[in-house]
């Protein structure tokens, strides 16, 4: 199965866990920390590299926090904007 990875805009994430529910290999988990809005964001927790890049998480995310990459033969794509955030970064204190 193709391998994938996701970036999560943790400042935008509201910790609703809908992505976690949607993820087939269950590689999304709540972080231990709060972001500056007071939400506990999710993170990719994928030591086994089980993420398939299926984008189901991104499909259900109400806040458009998730960017998905997949390892694969390159194919022609629509122009897509690259995320402006570094992913998995929480700027406030724990």
């Amino acid at each position: 199965m193709a391998k994938g990875r996701i970036l999560i805009d943790v400042e935008r994430c509201k910790g609703c866990e809908l992505c976690r529910e949607a993820c087939p290999p269950d590689v999304i988990a709540l972080a231990d920390t709060l972001n500056s809005k007071g939400y506990r964001p999710v993170m990719l927790l994928d030591p086994q590299h089980e993420c398939t890049g299926c984008a189901l998480c991104a499909t259900v995310c109400p806040d458009g926090c998730i960017t998905v990459y997949r390892e694969s033969v390159p194919k022609p794509q629509r122009k897509r904007k690259q995320p402006a955030y570094p992913g998995h970064v929480i700027p406030v204190a724990a």
Binding site: R12, T33, M43, T59, Y69, E71, P91
Partner: protein, 267 residues
């Protein structure tokens, strides 16, 4: 600054599979965690990107939790009076026939106060698209009963549960719109999980295509969650949509005009 573990390594040869659509502004929404208004927004934005109509699309936002939708989309937008979005959209579309005009409305907005404007725009076959977010409640004002609330549903204005004898049965907008001759597309979808969300997006796309083709009035009803006012977690809310709402509001295609058929079959 704290970076979450584990660090994210790039994959050897990776494609960008999914990222936020261009038509969605960078601004963070004010929606509650897990509120599927956000999903509906994203789907609309994705469709508008895919159809390459961002520069000629005009949103007419409702009064309801989506009142600030004009902040979240990256194209021309207007903010209508409560329930009057279809009238405002009619005015806009009639003088801008080349624009793609859509309304985004909640169930209080469309089914309750705005039913007249919705039905008449539909009857006239106004060439606009309506994204109708049915969350069975008035979200923005704090969880009052909507005409779409389920029987027995406890809300802040039906404290002992919605009573059919006093307030009637839930309103079925997609079904009500379908028979109107001006309507070319009327379907119901749900946003409670990924599979249904993908189907919802297809329907949204078909609805906009109907407008691009100048066919007439298209409406997509989206079953949506309001975790806050339902007083549930986002996950429980998604399950409530699946277990309680869908049985009352069957998903399906209630009207798909000839030129749109074979495009997108029933959910």
């Amino acid at each position: 600054m704290v970076t979450l573990e584990p660090p994210i390594e790039q994959l050897p040869c990776e494609n960008l599979i999914y990222s936020r659509p261009e038509s969605l502004a960078e601004i963070q929404t004010h929606y509650c965690p897990g509120c599927t208004h956000g999903v509906a927004h994203r789907l609309v934005a994705e469709v508008i990107d895919e159809l390459e109509i961002q520069e000629r699309t005009i949103l007419v936002a409702p009064v309801g939790c989506a009142v600030f939708a004009y902040n979240y989309f990256d194209f021309d937008s207007a903010e209508a009076a409560h329930g009057r979005a279809p009238a405002m959209a009619t005015g806009l579309k009639r003088v801008n026939p080349n624009s793609i005009v859509f309304t985004y409305q909640g169930d209080g907005d469309l089914a309750s106060i705005g039913i007249a404007e919705a039905i008449h725009a539909a009857t006239r076959g106004e060439n606009i698209t309506v994204i109708f977010v049915n969350n069975a409640i008035y979200g923005m004002t704090g969880g009052q009963m909507a005409p779409t609330s389920l029987i027995g549903q406890v809300t802040t204005s039906s404290p002992t549960g919605k009573d059919a004898a006093l307030t009637g049965m839930p309103m079925h907008i997609a079904e009500m719109m379908a028979p109107l001759p001006g309507v070319v597309y009327s379907v119901r979808r749900s946003l409670h999980d990924a599979r249904h969300t993908i189907q919802a997006k297809k329907a949204i796309r078909t609805a906009f295509e109907a407008q691009i083709q100048g066919l007439g009035f298209s409406i997509v009803e989206l079953l949506s969650s309001c975790p806050t006012n339902w007083k549930m977690t986002p996950l429980d809310a998604a399950h409530w949509v699946r277990d309680e709402m869908i049985p009352v509001y069957p998903l399906g295609d209630f009207k798909v005009a000839e030129p749109l058929q074979n495009k997108n079959r029933s959910a």
